[in-house]
Structure formats: C-alpha cells, structure tokens
C-alpha cells in the first residue's frame, strides 16, 4: 500500500491540493486572465461601477445556470429554461392587476416549478432523452407565453414593483445578491445533502446508484423541478428589472446558459461539476461580454470569441481530464 500513502499525502499537502483544485477548476484561471487583460486594456473596466454591472448582467444567466448545473450533473439537459423564464415573467406582470403583486410572483414561481415537474416526469416515466422532451417544451411553452400575452408586451402598472430590483447592497444589486446566495445555497446542497450526493452518484454511475437503493426517477424529477423553479426566479427578476414582459423574452438564453455551464467545466455526460465551476463560467462569460463592449469592439467579436472560447474549453477539458479516465 505504498502507492496509497503517496496519493493521499499528495492530496493533503496544501500545494498539491491547490494544483488539483486548479486543474479541476481551470475556469478561474481563465477568469483571472480575462480580468487582467481587460483591466490593462481599458481604464473603465476595473471600477466598482463596472464590476457591479458585470455581476448584475451575469446574474440572470447565472440563475438559470444553477438549475442547469443540477440537471447536467445528473447527465441530463434542459432546453426549456428560456421559455419557462418568459412565462414566469409574463404571469408575474400580467396577473398583478388581478391578484396583486406578490400573489402574481408566487403564481409565476409555481408555473416554473410545475413545468419543470412536467419535464422531469416525462423524462423519468417515458425514458425519452431529456433533449427531446425539453426541446418539445421549449417550443410549446413559448406557445403558452404567446397564448397568455397575445403577442403583446405586458407592462407593469404598479411602478413600486420595478423598484424592488433597484435595491442595492453596496455594489451588489438584488439580482446579483440573489444569484450569489442561490449559487452558494445549491453548492451546499450539492456538497452536503443527501440529494446533492445522489446527483453525482446518478450522473456518475447510474447502475451503482440504482443498486445502492437510490430512487433515480424521483431524483431526476426533483432536479428538473428545481431547474424550472430557478428559471421562473430569473423570469420574475427580469420582470422587476424591465417592468415589461416581452413574449420573446429569454429566447436563446438556454443556449447561453449551456455555454456558461460547460465553460465552467461541468461535464455534459454527467457526474462531474459544481456550482463553483458554474459561477466561474457565468462570470467569465459576463466579463468577456462586458470587456469587449468597453473596448468598443463590434458585437460580432463577442459572439466569435465566445464560440472560440467554448471550443477551446472543450479541447482543454479533453486534454486535461480525459487522461485519467482510461
């Protein structure tokens, strides 16, 4: 057992564990690099105001990314988050004159949870690939949004509602605070609760998880429900910030969300990932967008850089992490 002692001493020595952590969370290295580059390139970048902007801008995709991370560690995917967001946004504004602000918000949340539950149940019961189930939902839920809004943007009537989003704690907007709080909370769920550990076990080795008595179906339904609920949270925050509900709100956001999560390092095949990685991915994406805009680069650069970075991340992941797999 000489090998055993070397391995364990490696992972307990502080230097070794820092290296290991960085190898598994290389997104933070990348985030630091981008921050350094943009700080040098633009005097407006590293200011409190701009950082505050980045946090708020990143937080919307970030909240979606939290749910997506849960689902993805399970080895599944949810393409319907953008549409769920739009529905929650529309309901929370549209119902205000009828039942009041907070009940409307509650109904918005409920709609997200219900649709997530439907997705999860369909995946678990039918055995269909979640890509298909949620692709259908993406199309259909957008239809629901249009049925409800009738193609028009809904406007908020009670302007006190939009002021909720203007609550700041220092440089942190309510949205940013909520994102960070939720991310930390779900990191705790992942690392410290039965449900969280089940998520890894299911995504990692579904046979072993099943043999160990984990109820895989119920587990997946819960994660899809969480993902839908978080999408609704995002939609409600958007409604507070904008004061309007566009029927096309959140279109293609599911793609940005997947990009952020994968960029962070969470593996699409499941079993591997964390909220830390996702936070890194979300902020890297936000910094890239913000920095490139500050530099007055045309917006095509942003899109092209994003595509290139994503492929680079994939190649890096293949080179770094798949060594040990075989």
């Amino acid at each position: 057992m000489t090998d055993a002692t070397t391995t364990s001493s490696q992972s307990t020595s502080p230097f070794g564990s820092v290296i290991q952590w960085l190898l598994r969370n290389h997104i933070w290295v990348f985030l630091a690099l981008t921050i350094v580059v943009f700080s040098l390139a633009s005097p407006y970048f590293l200011t409190v105001k701009n950082m505050s902007n980045i946090l708020t801008q990143g937080a919307f995709i970030g909240i979606l990314a939290i749910g997506m991370t849960m689902v993805m560690i399970d080895g599944e995917i949810d393409l319907s988050v953008g549409a769920i967001l739009a529905l929650a946004c529309a309901l929370s504004i549209g119902l205000q004159p009828v039942i009041g602000s907070w009940p409307a918000v509650f109904v918005g949340l409920l709609s997200g949870a219900a649709l997530g539950f439907v997705n999860g149940t369909l995946v678990a019961l039918s055995g269909m690939h979640s890509f298909i189930v949620t692709l259908g939902a993406l199309i259909g839920i957008r239809g629901l949004v249009f049925v409800y809004t009738g193609e028009n943007a809904l406007m908020v009537e009670d302007f006190a509602y939009t002021e909720i989003a203007e609550v700041y704690l220092g440089p942190l907007s309510l949205t940013a605070m909520l994102f960070i709080a939720l991310a930390l909370f779900f990191q705790w769920i992942l690392s410290s609760t039965r449900h969280g550990r089940e998520t890894y076990a299911v995504g990692d080795n579904i046979e072993a998880a099943h043999d160990a008595g984990i109820n895989v179906k119920r587990h997946k339904i819960i994660n899809f429900t969480l993902c839908g609920t978080l999408a609704a949270v995002c939609g409600i925050l958007l409604s507070m910030r904008l004061g309007t509900a566009e029927p096309n709100a959140g279109k293609v956001w599911e793609l940005w969300t997947i990009i952020a999560v994968v960029l962070g390092g969470t593996r699409l095949q499941g079993g591997y990932g964390s909220m830390w990685m996702t936070i890194g991915g979300v902020f890297t994406l936000a910094v890239l967008r913000n920095g490139l805009r500050l530099l007055n680069t045309p917006n095509y650069v942003e899109l092209m850089v994003m595509g290139a970075v994503l492929i680079l991340a994939l190649v890096l992941d293949k080179a770094l992490n798949h060594r040990g797999d075989h």
Binding site: S8, Y200, N205, A208, Y272
Partner: protein, 502 residues
C-alpha cells in the same frame, strides 16, 4: 447461533433455454473462506447474484442465521449483512471514499443534510480496521483499482457484513496488491465473517480457502476440504466429461505461414508477444479473463494501436495495418462481444453480413442488393441460421444465431486467416458444436485459424497448438501430447517468469 451463517437449499434458476442453477445446495460457516469454482457458464455468477439479491430464485430457499429469508435487492442484501464485491466495481468515481462506502445509505438528519462527521468517522474506522493507507476524503476516481476494491471491502466493515462474496477479486491486481488483499481476507475471517471466494486461479484457491465447492452445468459436483484435496481432483470435478467424442479436430496438414508477429506490445495491456500461424492450423490462445488475449488480436487486427512490434503477412513484413487493410488482406476477427463489437443489432442479417465488405457488394459505390441477398441466402442456409427474413433485426435472434451471422459476415469474403475470440460464449449447445465443426472445416480448407477461449475443453478440443497467456505475456506453448488440462491450468495459475522477476 448455528455454526452455519448462510445456507442455500436446492436453489433453482432457469433462464430462457438454460437451467443456470439446478437444485444447488451449499453453506457458509463463520470464519471460513469457501471457494466456488467451475468453468465459465457453470453457474457461479448466477448463484452469487442470487445471494446478493440481483436475481430471484425460481425454487429452493436461502437460510440466513437459520431463518429463511428473501433477498429482494442489493440494498436489502447489504443491510442484512450480505455483501457482493463484484469484478466490475460499483463505485461512483467522483464521490469520496467515505461517500462510496455508504453509497445511497449516507447518515443524514431529518432534512436530508449529511452528517459529515459521522460519515467520515465511521468510514475512517472501517478503513483503519482494514489497514488502508488512504483517508475517507480522497476522491475514489484518483485511487488505483486495488484501492478502489478496498473501498468496497470497507463496506463489509461499515455494514458489519456477515457474508462477503468476492468475484474474481485478483483479476486486475499486482502481486503485492494480491498479498495485501489476502491479508485483508484473513483479517475478516478472524472476525468470524463467512467468505465466498470465486476464482479461476487454482493456486489462489489452494492458498486462501478452507473448503471448495465445484459447480458444473448448474449442479454442485461436490464440496471438499481444501486441505484434503489436490489440483487433479478439482480439475476432474470441473471438467468431468470425456473430450474425445465432443470435438472434431481438423487434420494436421499445415501449409505456408500466414501470419507472424514478433515483439508485439501495447502499454499496460500486454508485452513482447510473438507467435505465428500457418495455413490449415488451428492455434489456441488460452488464458484467464484479463490476461490480454483479446487485446493482442485486436491490436493485430488494427482496432488498437500497438506500441511496438513487427508483423509478417504471407511471409512479407508489413507495417501494422488498420482494420480496413486487415480486412482487405484477408484477415477476419470474430470479436469477443458480439453485441458490442460484432453486430449492428438494429440491422438485419443481410446488412450485417455485407458490412465489412461493402466494396465487394457494390459497383461504383452503388450497393448491389441482389448480390448481397444471394450471399445472405447462401450463408444463412450453409450455417442453418434461423431468421424470419433477411431484414429481421438481429437483436431479435438467439445468441447462437447472432454468432452465426458474425461468422457469415467474415466468411463471405473468403478470408485467409480467421481469428475467433470466445466464439461460443453464451450460446446453446447445438450452435456450439456447429461452430466447432465449422472451425475444423475451415482449417481443412486451408485457412489459418486462431481461437481464443476461456473454456479449456474447447481450446484443447479444436486446437493443434495452444499458447497460454497470463498477465499480458505469453507464458507457455503446448502441442501434441502436451495438450492436457493439467498443463494449461498449471501454466495460467502461476505468475509469468518475467513478471515474477520484476
């Protein structure tokens, strides 16, 4: 408390077409290591899966601590104190050691929050009891296979198992690791745990076990004390039939050398493998699962990339080929797993047959479906394959008929060398003897044949010459009178000289 922990009485289990267990009875006493031996397909794995709750028996009963019980599933078995340590470990590589020990049964409070300290302390205790050199917080994916196995064994400590079943536990362990494992097993034994030990390696069986139960064709051939028996008796009980009338061996008329390899190596899988095979010759390759036999032929065929070695084809040295080149030269490989490597299951027999030789069944890239159908008909008749039609998905066929299509897909291009990797695994007796006859027929037609098999009677029955492999090296070669079970068992039960010297 009786002196028997677990007793199996007249357990019967039938799968479609096979009686896997036929009124099997045996018992495990506290503090003993009880070996379960038999050839592949003798029923060992079915028996242990039944004990671990993965199969439900059709008849008979299981008595645990003197009381009859039903083992509903693996979790129930574990909670009762019956633990199966499977050859393919059931761990989650991304979770920590402690979390894997208690996989699915983590200590939590009412709200599902892990009691991390309790989890770690209990795990650490279990690890310490086993003398493991790693802590409970290490990620399992970073551990070696031997250490991962210790994690599974730690479950025995953690759940206070009374019975632990080891299935081929040393298959991928080095010598040192094996000694460590045996120490652990003795340790468990001294605590009164009953241990079932399943292995092909006879020297291990004689080293560690107290009693041996031999299974053959789903029936118990007998239980003997290890101290009072020897290799000969066990081998006789395992094989127990006369080989001569069961197999047809091709006439030993050999022609030119077809294939020769020298110094073929593939890192971590096998090293320095050299041999040759001639026209009309059947060369057997015998060894335990994991000895590197399949990897050798897959490397020759080109599915795996070699790290070194030379290859001669029809007497001329050529670079190691790609699969396409191998096929075009006239090499054929009937792979080990027909479902994963051999067939496209959703295709019919017709399309599977032509798949490796599309250029032969086409002109200018357009498929010649008439020719394809004729060839399909020819081989379907010649090999007596039962299907409802050329396009019936092969997934719906029996194992024997599937295997015949794998043969058809290679034979239809008239190969010069055919490599058969476990050609009769998991198929019925009728198809089995048909395939044995076919091997003889092909060799007499002048093909060079390489047969890989874990079934000793088979490899002895069909081959003119047998190479034995152990832990990635060719350790011995036998022909003529040297082709005996004793020789083969002896050759694979020991470490290869080169490894022992390391």
């Amino acid at each position: 408390m009786t002196d028997v922990i677990l007793e199996v009485r007249d357990i019967t289990k039938t799968f479609p077409g096979v009686k896997a267990l036929d009124a099997v009875s045996f018992d495990i006493r506290p503090g003993e290591v009880h070996a379960l031996v038999g050839e592949n397909g003798a029923g060992k794995s079915t028996l242990m899966k039944t004990l671990a709750g993965l199969h439900q028996p059709d008849g008979g009963e299981i008595l645990y601590m003197g009381k009859p019980i039903t083992v509903a599933g693996p979790l129930e078995a574990r909670q009762e104190g019956i633990l199966l340590i499977h050859q393919e470990l059931s761990l989650s590589p991304e979770l920590s050691v402690a979390e894997n020990i208690y996989l699915g049964a983590w200590p939590t409070n009412r709200f599902g929050v892990l009691k991390k300290r309790e989890l770690r302390q209990n795990s650490a205790k279990a690890l310490k009891a086993l003398g493991c050199g790693f802590g409970p917080d290490v990620r399992v994916g970073t551990l070696s296979v031997a250490m991962q196995q210790m994690v599974e064994i730690a479950r025995a400590e953690a759940f206070r198992a009374n019975v632990v079943i080891f299935d081929e536990p040393t298959a991928s362990l080095t010598d040192n690791e094996k000694d460590q494992l045996f120490q652990t097993i003795r340790n468990l034994k001294s605590k009164g745990v009953g241990i079932v030990y399943i292995s092909h390696k006879m020297d291990e069986i004689f080293d560690i076990t107290d009693r041996i139960t031999v299974l053959r064709d789903g029936q118990v051939q007998g239980t003997v004390d290890t101290a009072g028996t020897d290799l000969n008796q066990i081998t006789r009980m395992m094989i127990g039939r006369t080989l001569d009338n069961y197999f047809v061996k091709a006439k030993a008329e050999f022609g030119e050398e077809v294939l020769r390899v020298e110094g073929l190596s593939n890192k971590g899988l096998f090293r320095d493998v050299s041999f040759s095979v001639r026209q009309g010759e059947v060369l057997g390759l015998y060894g335990l699962v994991g000895a590197g036999r399949s990897e050798v032929v897959e490397t020759i065929f080109g599915v795996r990339k070699a790290d070194g070695g030379k290859l001669w084809w029809n007497g001329a040295e050529i670079p190691l080929p790609t699969p396409r080149q191998s096929i075009d030269m006239g090499m054929a490989l009937v792979p080990e797993s027909r479902k994963e490597q051999g067939l496209v299951l959703m295709m019919g027999g017709r399309e599977n047959t032509s798949l490796p030789h599309l250029q032969l069944f086409s002109s200018g890239s357009i498929m010649d479906k008439k020719k394809e159908l004729e060839t399909y008909r020819k081989y379907q008749e010649a090999l007596a394959i039962k299907t409802t039609g050329p396009d019936q998905a092969v997934s719906q066929l029996s194992g024997g008929n599937q295997q015949k299509f794998v043969l058809a897909k290679w034979l239809c291009a008239n190969p010069k060398l055919i490599i058969l990797d476990e050609p009769t695994r998991g198929i019925d007796v009728g198809s089995k003897s048909a395939i044995h006859e076919l091997i003889a027929e092909l060799a007499e037609k002048g093909l060079a044949v390489i047969v890989i098999s874990s079934e000793m009677p088979e490899v002895l029955g069909v081959s003119h010459r047998v190479l034995t492999m152990s832990e990635g090296a060719v350790v011995a070669a036998f022909e003529g009178d040297g082709l005996t079970e004793e020789n083969l068992i002896d050759a694979v039960s020991h470490q290869p000289a080169s490894v022992a010297a390391e």
